[in-house]
Symmetry: C2
Subunit: 504 residues, 2 copies
């Protein structure tokens, strides 16, 4: 067993060594990785390539809930910080890399069982290593009577994406809102089931989202309060007809009107999925593209249901959205059973067919190593606010002569303004400039009372600092909960700016 060459601040080499030995005893030597070369796989892929700032001391790969419990107990015994991921694929937010250098990575990729597919009640139960691609395939193989909501890339963890408030594009696209019942290993190694899972064998665990008493599911989202080892996720029944719809326009007047129309259509239950609109980047009308000079705004959304319902909904969409000056709309219609029909990424992603096409697009600017940093504030879904925020953010990019590349994720009442900057992480100067510009953007955005809905390991404290109400009371409460559940501060210290007592 190689000894760790990177140590977490405040932990002795002897403690780390003893922990690594104990991990190997509990999980088997093959499940413990300490070779510095091999551990590079778990660096932040979009940080400067030569930096060792985000290195882990070791990585362990438990395969069962019991092994996760063992890992946590050993970490407590030796005071070694852990950092967990399901797949660690969300590279713009740090990928698999730990917030605290020298943490031991808990790699959950080997916990990859789909424990239940329930086509009657429309849910699945998955372990944290299950990828969107795995889920999409498994539901298809089971008969295809239910569809998952998936994000753009199929390689990520269902549990990981969902816990970070990630989004997909069916009517179940607000993934965090469609979680029902978790199993969680707490920082002291105990295992808890949330919701009705509090009663052994209760059949409502994955169908009823509340508890007897407080409901704890969302305590474990964007959080370092526990390791989720299984999760219930709601799926949608396959519709008779699926229509993949698109729209285009150019002016800000049209943008404002489109947002107003889409909000009404969503609130009225006509558009039930989660639309995306973008400028300069995206996959719309079957065409993936990055083109900062293209002045066109593009929109995708979907309709689902029996044929006569989709027809009636489309007629209303034409009336309310198609009538806006400068707006063109269209649709491609498929039978729900037709899984070979949808060819473009936009058609596939809104009906739960998972793939990796967008990854190729993201490599076009600087080749294989291309990095990108997403800056993604949340705001209300009104035409006025969307236009104002777009202008404000565009001006921030203009300061650096960087293009505005935006993809807006719509919900009925809110919108996430995802914007991105591409760079080559082999270029130290440019890489540092991009991360510094993000700092600046966070501070500028706070002036209009907005913050990103999530952020990467580099900026977690800074974003947390903007949440200032009553002397940062929300963070102070999170710290109290953290200390109550994790007195030794071993689980993902610093995640989302929440530090345990021993590292504050």
């Amino acid at each position: 067993m190689t000894v760790a060459t990177v140590l977490p601040a405040g932990v002795s080499e002897s403690d780390v060594t003893k922990a690594i030995e104990a991990f190997a005893d509990a999980l088997g030597a093959d499940a413990v990785m300490t070779d510095p070369e091999a551990l590079r796989e778990f660096r932040d892929p979009y940080a400067y390539k030569q930096s060792d700032e985000w290195d882990a001391s070791a990585a362990v790969s438990p395969t069962t809930t019991e092994q996760v419990q063992a890992v946590v107990r050993i970490a407590n015994e030796h005071g070694v910080p852990l950092w967990t991921f399901g797949q660690g694929r969300n590279n713009t937010y740090g990928g698999p890399a730990p917030r605290v250098r020298g943490s031991v990575i808990v790699n959950l990729r080997e916990m990859n069982r789909i424990l239940e597919i329930n086509e009657e009640l429309c849910y699945v139960v998955v372990e944290p290593g299950v990828r969107w691609q795995d889920l999409s395939d498994a539901l298809h193989d089971a008969g295809g009577r239910t569809w998952p909501s998936i994000p753009d890339l199929g390689w990520g963890s269902v549990v990981g994406n969902t816990l970070e408030y990630g989004r997909g594009y069916t009517p179940y696209g607000d993934h965090a809102s469609n979680v029902c019942g978790m199993e969680v290993v707490l920082p002291d190694g105990e295992v808890m089931r949330t919701g009705m899972g509090a009663q052994t064998d209760n059949q409502a665990w994955h169908v009823y989202q509340h508890s007897y008493g407080p409901s704890l599911d969302k305590l474990f989202m964007q959080s370092n309060f526990g390791i989720v080892t299984r999760m219930g996720v709601w799926t949608m029944p396959r519709p008779d007809v699926y229509a993949s719809c698109w729209g285009t326009w150019q002016s800000e007047d049209a943008l404002e009107a489109v947002v107003e129309a889409l909000r009404r259509l969503m609130l009225d239950g006509i558009i039930r999925n989660y639309p995306v609109m973008g400028r300069g980047i995206g996959v719309f009308d079957e065409r993936p593209f990055i083109d900062p000079k293209d002045p066109t705004w593009r929109l995708r959304f979907a309709l689902y249901g029996r044929e006569q319902i989709v027809d009636a909904h489309w007629a209303i969409v034409e009336e309310e959205l198609g009538s806006i000056p400068g707006v063109e709309i269209g649709l491609r219609r498929y039978a729900g059973t037709d899984r070979d029909g949808p060819l473009g990424h936009d058609d596939k992603v809104q009906c739960g067919i998972s793939e990796m096409e967008l990854m190729d697009l993201f490599k076009t600017p600087y080749g294989e190593d291309t990095g990108h940093l997403d800056f993604s504030p949340i705001g209300p879904l009104t035409g006025k606010d969307v236009v104002a925020t777009y202008r404000y953010m565009r001006a921030l990019y203009d300061r650096h002569d960087w293009p505005y590349l935006g993809g807006l994720l719509l919900a009925p009442r809110s919108v996430i303004h995802i914007t991105t900057t591409f760079f080559d992480p082999n270029d130290e100067e440019k890489t540092r400039e991009v991360y510094a510009a993000y700092d600046e953007m966070v501070l500028e955005l706070a002036k209009i009372n907005k913050v990103p809905y999530r952020t990467n390991i580099h900026h977690m404290d800074l974003v947390g600092d903007q949440l200032d109400f009553n002397d940062h009371i929300q963070r102070r409460v999170n710290e109290r909960l953290k200390d109550a559940l994790d007195p030794n501060g071993i689980l993902s210290p610093g995640k989302q700016g929440i530090w345990p007592a021993n590292r504050r």
Copy 2:
């Protein structure tokens, strides 16, 4: 100032007296009630009428968040337990009465402002004293462009009902799932805003349900972790057409088929509201009734939207529900703007017109004082489970020769089997028999791995005891959170079986 005559266990008369004096100093003498006769108003109305088991020592009526903070700080200083309610009107669960005898009641009825009505983004912000009736009227007066989801009785608190996982009957009828952004006074007197309210003046507070970091809203539901002093609640846009629909049948075969059809119709987005079906009691087809001998099952649900959508949805309902042997269905159709058309309770309650008609019905068995005890387990929404659970519960009532009076609250994947027993709380023997039978039913139900979704102050520990997974880990975690947030154990001790360290 009268001195308290009832003291909470473990608290000295001197401490209670000092606390009461301090409450009067902070809130004004008029806001503090100690007269034992007057305090009878806050007894459990359905406990045995002569019992003083559920008496409070005093009641305070804060009017602002700052006053709530003052109350909590004083309670901490003197170690006096508090018990809060918004309106205290849910009589079957204990009404306003405290779990711990001698607690000081925090009566929030005077905090009754509707702070915001947003018809564009479809939400309201309310204080805990706002009643459903107030909200229904205020939205009407504001122009009626948005509707609230309301429960059957208009006198309850919007915040109180929602925090207890109460239900309504529009598409927003799962009230707890449509909360967005709270202000909470913590047990130490600090004030927190949840979600994006963590940033001062963030405009996404009431439109985006997640936080940066863990989301804490549901930590304050069925909970004694804080006093919610304001809450964002989502509303629905007024539809062009509203159809109040009904169904009837008699056999268990039809019951099973109806449940299967309704689940599919809900999951497909055809029926978007929360249907109710019942036997022996209810308000269906405009007729409120209690008739244990009537073998008919009755159903109500609703359709909303533009005219052509409601037409198309109804045609599908006729095809899938109306085709079941023995099932009759029908509908009454109204313009969304027609607030005088809906006359029966079933028509009104599914379009957000609040009233008290059901209260008269509940008084028919034993006159003005009639009590009823609801027993309300949660289960999965499958035809087989609904029929099996109905039979099982009916057999439990048969043991006592009591009729089965059931109202089932449906959601797309789950169902709450509300059953009820009427009694005269002036009759000590019968009253005690009813509460004892509830104990027995909880234990019998646990044998088939079910528990009530909420319960009254008499049975909170017993129901909590059934949540046995991993040596009651969910309760043990709740206790750790309780101790972290409320080290002096002053806030609603014992609620939902969660006791602070000093009373465990």
